[in-house]
């Protein structure tokens, strides 16, 4: 290769590239600082602030009282309940989504694309509206209730109960499980399954030893995408659970609105943020690199 540029010119070109990159990124950097970094800073600052007798949050006398209160029984109960509901939602989503993703990825391309579009159709309408629609379906003379009772499966009136909350969460987050699962199952080379069958593996063994381990990046990604928002969910428990049980999301809102306890609301928010960060880190360490 002929050398056309002197070393100095190359450095200049690299610097110029970096400058251009910064300029292109500038609008979003400004946006993120104003609407993300600054509010987040406020939340963190609030969590160490003092609550005045009138309920105002005052940015003085910095302390960790709000974090100490996270150890209280009431708060612990809310946190564990949220964790449990998020975990249950994740497991149910996984059980429903895996066969579906498997089915989709083994169809002809035309059918496959149709099904994938079908999975995404719900996103075309507002999440709040869809959640309210469930309230109609779950009402005491709603379709869901009638079908359940018609089939003799017992009392179908689950609105404003924990099952209704989980149903709503599963409904809302199922696509986030299906899509990464589909992506990783679709990438599996089927000749590996044939190879396993040829090496005396039954269909189930071939699944256990080949398909399942190779789809693990999708399982991890999907689980985190479902678990993290379920843990902090606010809308679904409010609309379908009727706020009978306090969950993380509604509990935080309560702190700011009713109890007027800004520091505790903020320390709870930091806790949720921490759980999400841990989840995201697991995702990047385990599955993220393969996605």
């Amino acid at each position: 290769m002929k050398r056309v540029a002197t070393p100095g010119l190359e450095t200049q070109a690299v610097k110029e590239k970096a400058r251009q990159g910064f300029l292109i990124g500038l609008p979003s950097i400004v946006y993120l600082i104003i609407f993300f970094i600054i509010p987040l800073g406020y939340v963190i600052a609030y969590s160490f602030a003092t609550r005045s007798r009138s309920g105002r949050t005052e940015l003085r006398d910095w302390n960790v009282d709000a974090y100490v209160r996270l150890g209280e029984d009431v708060v612990q109960a809310v946190a564990w309940r949220s964790l449990w509901i998020a975990a249950l939602t994740t497991v149910i989503c996984l059980l429903l989504a895996y066969p579906l993703a498997f089915y989709i990825s083994t169809r002809r391309p035309v059918i496959r694309n149709l099904l994938l579009v079908g999975i995404m159709i719900p996103f075309w309408s507002n999440f709040l509206i869809r959640t309210y629609a469930w309230r109609v379906l779950l009402s005491s003379d709603g379709l869901f209730t009638k079908v359940v009772e018609g089939l003799g499966l017992g009392d179908g009136r689950i609105l404003f109960t924990r099952p209704a909350v989980i149903l709503g969460l599963v409904y809302g987050y199922l696509p986030f499980m299906v899509l990464p699962l589909y992506a990783s199952i679709d990438r599996i080379d089927w000749s590996l399954v044939e190879g396993a069958r040829d090496l005396y593996a039954s269909g189930w063994k071939a699944f256990r030893r080949i398909v399942w381990p190779l789809s693990r990046p999708g399982v991890i990604a999907g689980s985190i995408l479902v678990f993290v928002p379920s843990f902090g969910a606010y809308v679904t428990p409010a609309i379908l659970g009727g706020n009978k049980e306090s969950l993380m999301g509604s509990y935080i809102v309560d702190q700011f609105m009713d109890a007027r306890n800004g520091p505790l609301g903020s320390s709870l928010s930091v806790l949720v943020l921490g759980v999400m960060l841990i989840g995201t880190m697991i995702y990047f360490r385990q599955g993220g690199r393969n996605l």
Partner: protein, 355 residues
């Protein structure tokens, strides 16, 4: 061949994919301990045939038997065969040892016996010291060896190989051909080998079955196939060949299109138009008028000369066509373009095929 000596037997096997017939009424018996190759161009149905033996495809009609036992609807895991796949299909999340162990685990071979067999298989393919590597950390040739070890460790009655050397470069391929052949002798397992490379098939096989458009055209030893092809396709596909148009005059005489008569046995009908095929290296080239011991001679003019190092290829134009002549005489009596020559051949090295 009776059941006790046949490893694989296919009877009237047909395989259709929708309306496309991939394998058309195939009859084939492969002997125990034989190195048998299915040879043909891509899309001829050879891989489909192999997959039906493995149980990865089920025949539309006909039967597949292994060591006399009818396979019927048996899934691949219930058949005493193992396959070396074209792309190797090594499990990417397992080590070399893990891949080799897989089949043994599935057969519930006890742990001590397993590690013994793994060591045996890994040293058989000379991969010692690499058993903790993942497949992605291996070269193509090494992956090929692992695929082989993974299959052989199970001591299958029949080993099926689907173009196993296709992804390797020429030099490695030639080396592996020899190693595979030696390995097959060593372990004494029946090999059914699918390839589109005629040289590979000729070098390695005890017998070859040539396939074309789903049909088995000819089965025979490499020599049979090469020296006595029964169809024009086989003669053309295996090596190079000259085809001279001719008509059958009687059951032991054909007439070339220039009127020359040749004493040749054939089972074609009298009056049928056929072709006689003769290999370029079976043609001899002389100065015109120079005497030859061969019965048959054709006069022509040298058109092109190609030097190949160990041989010279002449294109000689005779009255009605060109002949390719391959001469191993590279130094003495060379001819050049425009020389008048005589091409002769011995009818023993000539076959009659359908026109």
């Amino acid at each position: 061949m009776n059941d006790s000596s046949s490893a694989v037997e296919l009877k009237n096997v047909v395989k259709k994919f929708d309306e496309v017939t991939a394998v058309d009424d195939l009859d084939l018996t492969i002997g125990d301990g034989e190195f048998f190759s299915l040879l043909g161009p891509s899309g001829c149905g050879k891989t489909t045939t192999l997959r039906m033996i493995a149980g990865l495809e089920l025949p539309t009609a006909g039967s597949v038997s292994i060591h006399g036992e009818e396979m019927g609807l048996k899934p691949p895991n219930k058949r005493p065969v193992n396959t070396v796949f074209q792309n190797y299909a090594l499990f990417p999340h397992m080590t070399v040892a893990g891949n080799v162990e897989f089949g043994l685990q599935m057969q519930k071979v006890p742990k001590e016996k397993r590690s013994e067999l793994i060591d045996w298989a890994i040293s058989l393919v000379e991969m010692d010291g690499l058993s903790h590597r993942k497949p992605t950390q291996l070269s193509g040739g090494q992956q090929q060896r692992v695929a082989l070890a993974r299959a052989l460790v199970n001591r299958p009655e029949v080993l099926l190989l689907d173009e196993p050397l296709g992804a390797l470069d020429l030099k490695l391929r030639q080396q592996m051909q020899i190693e595979l052949k030696n390995l097959q002798r060593e372990v004494g397992i029946t090999f059914v080998y699918v390839t589109h490379d005629q040289e590979e098939a000729v070098t390695m096989s005890d017998r070859i079955g040539v396939m074309h458009e789903g049909k088995l055209l000819q089965i025979g030893t490499p020599e049979d196939i090469y020296e006595r092809p029964t169809t024009r396709f086989v003669a053309d596909f295996i090596g190079r060949s000259n085809f001279l148009d001719a008509t059958v005059a009687s059951e032991n005489e054909v007439v070339l299109s220039n009127g020359d008569r040749l004493q040749l046995q054939s089972d074609h009908e009298t009056g049928e138009s056929v072709a006689i095929t003769v290999r370029p290296e079976r043609l001899k080239i002389h100065k015109k008028g120079e005497s030859s011991t061969d019965q048959h001679q054709l006069d022509g003019i040298v058109e092109t000369v190609g030097y190949l190092g160990n041989a010279i290829v002449y294109s000689v134009s005779i009255d009605w066509m060109h002949l390719e002549v391959r001469s191993s005489e590279t130094s003495n009596s060379r001819y050049s373009t425009g020389d008048e020559v005589t091409v002769s051949f011995d009818p023993r090295y000539v076959s009659v095929v359908s026109g």
